[in-house]
Symmetry: C2
Subunit: 365 residues, 2 copies
Amino acid sequence: MSMDVTFLGTGSAYPSPCRGASAVVFRTEGECWLFDCGEGTQTQFMKSQLRAGRITKIFITHLHGDHMFGLPGFLCTVSLQCSSTVTKQPVDIYGPVGLRDFVWRSLEISHSQLAFPYVVHELVPSEDQCPAEEFKDWSRTGIGDERIPADIQGRTVCEDPEGGSYTLFENDQFTVKAFKLFHRIPSFGFVIHEQERLGKLDVKKLRDFGIQPGPVCGKLKLGASVTLDNGQIVSPSDVLGDPIPGRKVCILGDCSGVISAEAARLCHEADVLVHEATLDDTQMDKAKEHGHSTPKMAAEFAGLCRARKLVLTHFSQRYKPAGMVGDGDEDVSVLKIQAEHHLVGRDVVLAEDFLTINIPIKKTD
Amino acid sequence: MSMDVTFLGTGSAYPSPCRGASAVVFRTEGECWLFDCGEGTQTQFMKSQLRAGRITKIFITHLHGDHMFGLPGFLCTVSLQCSSTVTKQPVDIYGPVGLRDFVWRSLEISHSQLAFPYVVHELVPSEDQCPAEEFKDWSRTGIGDERIPADIQGRTVCEDPEGGSYTLFENDQFTVKAFKLFHRIPSFGFVIHEQERLGKLDVKKLRDFGIQPGPVCGKLKLGASVTLDNGQIVSPSDVLGDPIPGRKVCILGDCSGVISAEAARLCHEADVLVHEATLDDTQMDKAKEHGHSTPKMAAEFAGLCRARKLVLTHFSQRYKPAGMVGDGDEDVSVLKIQAEHHLVGRDVVLAEDFLTINIPIKKTD
Ligand SMILES: [Zn+2]
Ligand SMILES: [Zn+2]
Ligand SMILES: [Zn+2]
Ligand SMILES: [Zn+2]
């Protein structure tokens, strides 16, 4: 099953002609999810090979404008593109408390009538996620009974009892959890973990049981036990190879660090870890002051997680993509060199707008 | 004094790579005003020769997303670009009731702290500006005492007592008024009228009074009366030629028509009349149903006003600019032909992104 991640915006603070504001698309067969939706994300979709109308879930890491000011317009445009004959399933939106209010008010004031419903599930942040003076309790400014027709009541997602993670949902294919980050305002990271899948049929073991290719094999492959003609019961684990581990993709919002050790456990051996690196290592004090990271900080977290691939993004607009470096501009490649210096032997990639990264199926050892 | 109008977005409904969402900049020495601010306007500024930080006033024709979803991000980015040492004057924002709520809530939820204050002056629409079922009384959902520090209380602008116009402001250089349009939701047109200026000194008349070039001429030129050595009092009108009429620029929001005859009077002999033409004349029923105009409708209003130049904009994204017409695309030039058909002998221009139109000083006859 194919799986990839495409960057539609890799710039910090605001969109520019060189780098769109934050937006990442995760794609696998049948699913297409958007992570953050800065201003202009809908136009970035149009410039890409992806189709905005296929998005079924949206995740917002935090409420800074460069991560969500594109959301009302994105929903309106997807709605315009909807064929009126096809009923589009509700779009699930996950993000910090306050997001629902922003979405419905923006749609309400602009008289936007969506052709499909949406559901905002709000994550409850905690005070340790930002400087004390920046923390606001949005739950007090709830939207009360005011609604627009498209707005379906979602869940309020609290931290799991054991602490350190928020379970957003779990289905046959994936478990998606969030974890807390430290930033100027509460920010979250998201972990998409594919479910482990049954191993392949082991031809030698089948032969030992005297099982011929046919319907019996099919049943075993699907995970059901069978009773052979001789009365012997064969369970799938008797004839299947090692299970195929699920792939893991982690997408972190703006941060100068994580809140709990649970974050590294959730991101353990991530196939792709997307981490911000707003400024280069020589600007680390300034980065931290603004709740941001540098390549060294991103690399250290990736090292702690033993991530297989670290992807840096959310670059200050001062760092131009390789092809666009003019006189007096800074080249973004310095950030790659800095990260590699602290993550020896692992893969470091610089995100750029419209870059797609494939995540191949894991091999069993 | 130079005066021009630049289009930063000429597309209807949503921004696309071919056409940005609505945004027009009016410029004259010392003034730079933005009319509408669809999503992506800040990026269009960066692609243009204009500087977003120079904008001192913003006018929003109506509250549809394609005309204002770019406003919060625009303000945030201008704020980031502000030098912290220069105190930026408050930015005046004019638009329908409800706009202030949208701006402050978007800034509040995103924890945006602007480096300059802004003042929203809200125009009170009336029920005749849209279909009855679309009219909402936003004044009831006022923001009460909730504020962010940058938000300064503005005026509530009601229709002038004589009816048909709203006076937004008047200074030495300009009078700016608004008038009502019919659309899916209440929409407005804006008229920028330059003040009439004193004529030039008439050399022959000066000679008749025996006035020599020098300080006396200077006083008369500035509009002051002088007493000559022989006791004779000379007033400026005695020696100045005809006054130079002020230029007039009219920028209309989305509409399928105006509400009162006063609109044509306000726009009388406009040097530039910017009018939407969302669909071509073969789609007139559909255009009207959605509260929009076609070239014929725009041309008829321009003819009524005796406008000197009609500029069409807000094109459905189906009409591609001349250079971007691919197989199966519709060419926007058909809209120009249709308008010219109904406005014989007058100038019709199709707006396109980054087009600038100069408005020369008027000549006295
Ligand atoms: Zn950011
Ligand atoms: Zn941020
Ligand atoms: Zn519009
Ligand atoms: Zn409209």
